[in-house]
């Protein structure tokens, strides 16, 4: 509840503040009252800030909830969607589109959709591949998945490296910017595609909560309590791949949200996934909208990639988690 209110405040702040000095609230009032608004104000509010705000909420919610699910699935508070190869796959997809895009005959059909579409494809392909590798006779080994994930990530990174080597100077720049993430490309047409891809998993995720709680006891015990553990694992991985894949495709690589948010919430309100999952969606949205706000105004009229901001917050936080856990272990 408090988080929902906070999200509203942050959203309002994000609409109000920006490089362009537009009185957003007056513009909004004018639009609602049907009065004439200047084209520039309309574009700033309606075509830039609003879609960007919604995209920020969706991406933040998607990444945070995916992180929470992965941590529940792997029974490890340091797991993140990257573990199942989503990020590495998305990266490879993006670099393929950036470097090889010009050579493909059908590439112009995609236009600016080529990179996100390819990133999404890469995210899915690597997750499905990993899931297949780790599943034998209907049983998915989470440990195999973890190890195979490391191998697969190394492989995708090598392929990414090959493409990076082939890339020219501008392509390299494009890729490194993509890797750092940005919400600057948010538009209504992108939202129309990304919103269902992220929203559906985010809304379905809370259904996993009882199962993830049981999984904290271990897979066997979760089965003894009555959960169909294999189905639970499969659903969890699919939901994560969809949400993360779409989020990464829409905004590039944005790190640490998936780790920081669930961990913070566990400290604040306990590990029960029935509260953790919806709260993670809210706090993830808050954090990303805030980070985007900083990214937009800190060097206005230019922008900082949002991934830099989240990493600046996330890096030290991650270290703090590690140190704190060591402290607990020594108790």
């Amino acid at each position: 509840m408090a988080l929902a209110l906070l999200l509203l405040c942050v959203a309002a702040a994000s609409l109000t503040v920006g490089a362009a000095s537009t009185s957003v609230w007056q513009t909004m009032g004018d639009i609602l009252a049907g009065r004439e608004v200047s084209l520039r104000d309309r574009v700033v509010l309606w075509d830039i800030r609003v879609p960007r705000l919604i995209m920020g909420c969706l991406v933040g919610a998607g990444l945070a909830i995916s992180g929470a699910i992965m941590q529940g699935l792997f029974r490890n508070p340091l797991a993140d969607p990257g573990i199942v190869g989503v990020s590495a796959g998305a990266s490879l997809g993006a670099v393929m589109a950036i470097v090889l895009g010009g050579m493909l005959p059908f590439a112009p059909l995609f236009g600016s959709w080529l990179v996100p579409a390819s990133a999404f494809g890469g995210a899915w392909a690597s997750t499905i591949l990993l899931y297949r590798i780790a599943t034998r006779q209907g049983r998915t080994s989470v440990a195999t998945m973890l190890l195979a994930g490391i191998a697969l990530t190394a492989l995708t990174m090598a392929l990414t490296g090959v493409l990076v080597y082939m890339a020219d100077d501008t392509q390299l720049r494009d890729f490194s910017f993509w890797n750092l993430g940005s919400l600057a490309g948010a538009s209504w047409s992108k939202l129309a595609v990304a919103a269902p891809m992220i929203l559906l998993p985010v809304l379905l995720a809370p259904l996993l909560a009882p199962g993830l709680n049981a999984l904290a006891l271990g897979e066997a015990a979760a089965g003894h309590i009555g959960f169909r553990v294999e189905r639970l694992k499969g659903t969890a991985i699919l939901i994560t791949a969809a949400a993360t894949g779409a989020a990464v495709a829409a905004s590039g690589g944005i790190g640490f949200v998936g780790i920081v948010v669930p961990h913070l919430l566990r400290l604040l309100s306990g590990p029960d996934h029935r509260y953790l999952l919806p709260n993670a969606a809210l706090l993830g949205a808050i954090l990303l909208v805030l980070a985007d706000l900083v990214a937009r105004v800190i060097i206005a009229p230019a922008e900082l990639p949002i991934g830099i901001i989240t990493a600046l917050i996330g890096g030290p936080f991650f270290l703090w988690i590690l140190l704190r856990q060591r402290g607990l272990a020594e108790l």
Binding site: R75, N213, A216, A221, I225, G226, G270, P271
Partner: protein, 254 residues
Amino acid sequence: MLTAQNVSVSLARKPVLSTVSFTALPGEVTSIIGPSGAGKSTFLKALTGDLPFDGEIRLNDLSVRSALPAKLARIRAVLPQASPMAFPFTVLEVVRLGCPTPDRDRIAREAMAHVGLAGFAARPYQLLSGGEQQRVQLARVLAQVWEPVVKGMPRWLFLDEPVSSLDIGHQQQIMEIARIFAQRGGGVVMVMHDLNLTAMASDSIALLCRGELMIQGSPQTVLSENRLRQAFDCHLTVNKPPEAGVFVLPCLAS
């Protein structure tokens, strides 16, 4: 009733259990004993449906192989050997996990009181001692099948070495809880190491050796000196004083 017929299990293509047939009755405590590596825990895993097996296992006339987890969960609960928790859940949250939805808080608290953890509800599970964690898990398992008989059907407790990390007082307490569950009409099947505790608490004992069932019967029948020497390959004496019980004592060869 729990019946196992000609149950065989192979792990990594090596036979671990071969053609074990076994029965456990509701209202009784049935113990599975045998030397280390005899296949006790494997057998228990087959009985709870955690391992693929050949043969047939039926629990209350339900085929363990094909029954849905949710259906099995309503008639039996399983206490694992060790249960580390992934996240800092509180004791109450852990105990509630397996509870059927209505009344879960009341049942969880009663189960906690039953194992002597009444004041522990808000304590973080991860910070408890091994013995305390074991009792929390027992409370969780009890809460899952809190009424030993529902609509005339018995419910079952499967306990894998329930007293292995406990002191003598708590060992006795757990055995007491198992007996009460059986007396109220439920069935208890447990894997045990301590032969004296087993003799004290069990109505029926199954002795496994090298993946085969040597014998199943009353403590008086199963715990004979010759059979135990043969199964465990060691010197021991068995005392059966007329007033009560069976006592197994190891002897030094020298």
